[in-house]
Amino acid sequence: MAVTELALGVVGDESSFRRTSQAQLAWRRYRRNWLPVAGGVWVLIFVLAGIFGPWVAPHHYTDTDFLNANQGPSWEFPMGTDGLGHDMFSQILWSIRNALEIAVGATAVSFVIGCVLGLWAGLRGGLADQAIMRVVDFMFAFPSYFLNLILVVTLGRGMFPILIAIGITGWASYARLIRGLVLNMRNGEMVEAARSLGATWPHIARRYLLPNVLSSMLVALAFGIPADLVIMAALSLVGLGLLPPLPSFGNLIAQAGPNVLGYPWLLYFPAGIFALTLLSFLFVADGLQEAFDPKGGS
């Protein structure tokens, strides 16, 4: 055959190929805009405050100082004090920790349920798919905030009950997302090629499907955490949030409301920090979406 000698040579001269990992490319695209970077910095501060807050806080969240009640911001109380003499700065630091624990925990619960059910529905198809997706439809159709309220009332107002109450109402969107992605890949050529090599379905799910949906999942998680923060605060506003004296943004904001004319700092600080945090998470999520977009260029 005339072309045989071609096969013996190597393909072109590519001895000095450039190595750029997927992660490097993603990071390059992420930092193209300043908002995701700024949001990332704030989220990082928020997370660090959540982890180290209790050690940094000058007071415990139960400490009261009646002689210094309703003080404006000062060196001793950087964010002022409330009517019982709670140090707002410390209250906020503890709130950050509670907010993080519940939001991250609840998102993780939703995520795991959503992942398992979505993967199952997408891979198995047929009856399993139909059944799971109808439950998902139900979850979307049913006002989930109402479900949250019912669950909190039934389970109680501690950290863990609230975490669960938010977690098990939020999985439907993850399930729907993963199912769609898996369904798309299941009939794709990558899976066909893997199957032609004798790969089993569990193996394909683990090594082929999950890693390939990971970037989309990360974006969904970044959107999911602020959403859960909002639900948590919304529960406080109707009086079904974390049971005082456990501080939370929702509680702080709800308590500050009636006194906003006399002691505005009680509203401004927690509401400002909370709003900034939500915005930052959304900027980060947007940035991730951009970074992982396969059509994003470099």
Binding site: M1, T4, L6, A7, G198, P211
Partner: protein, 327 residues
Amino acid sequence: MAEDLLTVENLQTRFRRADETIYAVNGVSFSVAPGETLGIVGESGSGKSVSLLSTLGLVRGARSVTGSARFMGTELLKLRRKQLEDIRGRDIGVIFQDPMTSLNPTMRIGDQIMEAMITHQYTNRRRAFERTLELLDKVGIPEPRARFKSYPHEFSGGMRQRAMIAMAIACEPQLLIADEATTAVDVTVQAQILALLDDLRQERKMSIILITHDFGVATNFCDRIVVLYAGKVMESARLEEFLARPAHPYTLGLKASVIEVGQRGRDLVPVPGMATTVTEPPSSCPFAPRCSMAVERCHQEVPPLRSMGQGHAVACHRAEEVMARAS
């Protein structure tokens, strides 16, 4: 001739779409001898891929696959899923059309090649690593050690197809199925890939089934050719016989449609019409509506596949006339 490696007999594959049944493969028979290259030629939708992939359990949503497909004495259609998984990748390797989408973008090239060997317990991890380097070298990928760690996006199309070949031959299969393996790559790369496959075949005494719509590729590369149309074998013969005495109007049409270099001015003679989806069992020659030689009989009777001697088989009522006209 030695015992055939793969013998497919009267294979029928059906799909269900909405409320109609698609007759994708309607009684296809062919066989491959050890070390032989068989070309399966046909237009898109002629059932060429489906006929092979359905024997391997790789076609999803197939409503029924009947007939027989014996591979080294084993009836593939009767195997359980687990047994088929053992055969795929170990005894039968498959290369697909699009190397851009067939590799896992999250896995290193080397790991993907090793994976097949480890799945089939072909060898242990260390030996598999060494063998992967040898394979990368063999398929013509430079600097195997560095390239082992590359991800698919760092490879060009031709190199990805080479990596796919390395994966398919890792466990030294007796049969390699190349499903439009050179369709998505440049012509120069196509020549390289075909040459590589031919080398591998000679070196390992491996059989190759080349599924292609490219008549030119098939006639330059294969020992024997099967022409499929609407899920039926139209003609099958050894290459020399096939080129010298084509006996089916469709084959003539395919030949006239090949575009050769430097033949401007020569009239291209396209086959009129389009291949259609078959939604009911054939009751006439499926090619009759597009055939220039069709007579009344062609619209009423299914032409059986009859032997013309020397392993040459044709499904045409007027094969003798076609043959006379062609030569």
